[in-house]
């Protein structure tokens, strides 16, 4: 039975390692995007008009340029240039791993999308609640942190689970700058055992599995933190 040898235990370990790297990419990208998105949204909604305009520009740029282009631009353009600069100035061989570059690019992109998710959620909290909080003596920052954000965050979870599933699939693009995540490893295995149909189907299945599990978890989180009166999820 030749087919039994197609995928050996070490191979399975290698492939699962790829899934681990993908999870790292997603966690890093989503985490960075979350911080960035929240800050940008707050700036766009509550900040001075000029800052809001800059945030809008940022969001348009990262929503308007393909991630593939951004990956090349960042890793082979900016990062290489930075490494050169550090070597020239400090005589130090700085190496920024492709994984780090990929996380930053995914994070910057996701931040742009997430800022728009959070902006919508913040704007949907009735302005009267902010006014009431100020009337009770809370500062603007306190009102945002303890009245607006707790509601906006919970409200955002369904849209955010969408962002998770998109970013998970976008993370496959990290393959092009040399991150050996799921896609890269399945391709490597396929090119040794020539089972392209099987290997790429399996790769697809792994992505599907990660998406399904993650989205399911996020939606059950939504159910758990939903307050009476907040819409039940529609799925």
């Amino acid at each position: 039975m030749k087919s039994i040898n197609l995928i050996t235990w070490p191979t399975i370990g290698y492939l699962l390692g790829g899934a681990g790297l993908t999870c790292l990419l997603v966690a890093g990208g989503l985490g960075l995007g979350l911080g960035l998105g929240l800050g940008l949204a707050a700036l766009q909604v509550y900040g001075p008009r000029r800052a809001a305009a800059l945030v809008g520009l940022y969001a348009w740029f990262f929503r308007g340029v393909p991630i593939l282009v951004l990956m090349f631009l960042f890793h082979f353009g900016l990062v290489s240039w930075l490494e050169e600069l550090v070597r020239a100035c400090f005589n130090y061989r700085l190496r920024i791993p492709a994984l780090a570059s990929a996380v930053v690019v995914l994070g910057l992109c996701s931040g742009a999308y997430q800022s728009q998710i959070f902006r919508g959620a913040m704007l949907s909290i009735p302005a009267g609640q902010f006014r009431a909080a100020r009337a009770l003596g809370l500062t603007g920052t306190q009102a945002i942190l303890s009245i607006i954000l707790p509601q906006a965050l919970r409200l955002s979870i369904p849209a955010w689970s969408n962002e998770y599933s998109i970013l998970l699939k976008d993370s496959a693009i990290a393959y092009v700058i040399g991150v050996t995540e799921i896609m890269a490893r399945f391709k490597a295995v396929a090119s040794t055992n020539y089972q392209y149909l099987l290997m790429y189907s399996l790769a697809g299945l792994v992505y599907y599995f990660l998406t399904a599990v993650g989205v399911r978890l996020l939606l059950s989180l939504y159910d758990r933190v939903r307050w009476p009166g907040l819409a039940e999820r529609a799925d």
Binding site: G128, Q129, R134, L136, G137, Q151, R154, W227, P228, L230
Partner: protein
């Protein structure tokens, strides 16, 4: 003569080139309830919001217990604000918090009380407005009248020196108005100083020391209810009230 708790002195405010408040002055002594009436768009809400600096007046001065707000500077406006309770027409409860926590949150964030201390006080205030058993409910689970009573409890918990009420019953079903008015009447009897914009003339007539009629950004008439309303449609205010009473079926 005691010094007034709240003095509003020559407040003006315009918005988009339109004068909304035109040189408005009034004062409230301790324990007094004064009522603002007049047609919508006359400046009642704007006046209340200016007193609370939710809108900044263009000119004039707000004096609380002899201390002008302008002395406090913009940075201490929060200190000024929390001495004045504000009740809104549409309650503005925090939707994600239970009734108890709606009342407790400002105690914790502004007065830096512990969670237990704040919740204790919240339960006390809820009991005071007749909602002792509703503390665990969320706004969506309360009726309009109950929501407004929670918002009154929320304001009371901050120990305000004055309460401003902006049409507290206008968003309520007729059968729910009574419970809110009763809470307000009790408050007034217990000595709370209040300024209330309302269309509830019948209610105002019995409790208030002075009715202030506002129209087009100015106080056009004011006086004790008996005096102001007895001129039988001669004055603008009495005419307005007669119309309101007619609407309410008490014509």
């Amino acid at each position: 003569m005691t010094e007034p708790v709240l003095e509003v002195s020559h407040i003006s405010k315009s918005c988009g080139g339109r004068l909304i408040l035109d040189d408005v002055s009034l004062s409230l002594n301790k324990g007094e309830l004064k009522v603002l009436i007049g047609p919508s768009g006359g400046g009642k809400s704007t006046l209340l919001q200016c007193i609370h600096f939710l809108q900044t007046p263009d000119a004039g001065e707000i004096i609380l217990e002899g201390r002008p707000a302008s002395d406090m500077g913009r940075r201490h406006i929060n200190v000024f604000r929390r001495q004045i309770g504000m009740i809104f027409q549409d309650f503005n409860l925090f939707d994600h918090l239970t009734a108890e926590h709606n009342v407790a949150i400002a105690l914790r964030k502004v007065k830096k009380q512990s969670r237990a201390q704040a919740l204790n006080r919240a339960r006390e205030e809820l009991a005071r407005v007749g909602l002792a058993d509703k503390g665990d409910l969320y706004p969506a689970q309360l009726s309009g009248g109950q929501k407004q009573r929670v918002s009154i409890a929320r304001a009371l918990a901050m120990d305000p020196k004055v309460m401003l009420l902006d049409e507290p019953t206008s968003a309520l079903d007729p059968e729910l108005i009574g419970e809110v008015l009763k809470v307000i009447a009790d408050l007034s009897q217990s000595g709370m100083t209040m300024l209330m914009a309302t269309h509830q003339i019948g209610f105002a007539r019995h409790l208030t020391s002075e009715i202030i009629f506002m129209e087009a950004g100015r106080i056009t008439e004011s006086g004790p209810p008996a005096e102001l309303l007895s001129t039988c449609g001669l004055s603008r205010a009495a005419g307005f009230c007669a119309k309101l009473n007619q609407l309410m079926g008490r014509g």
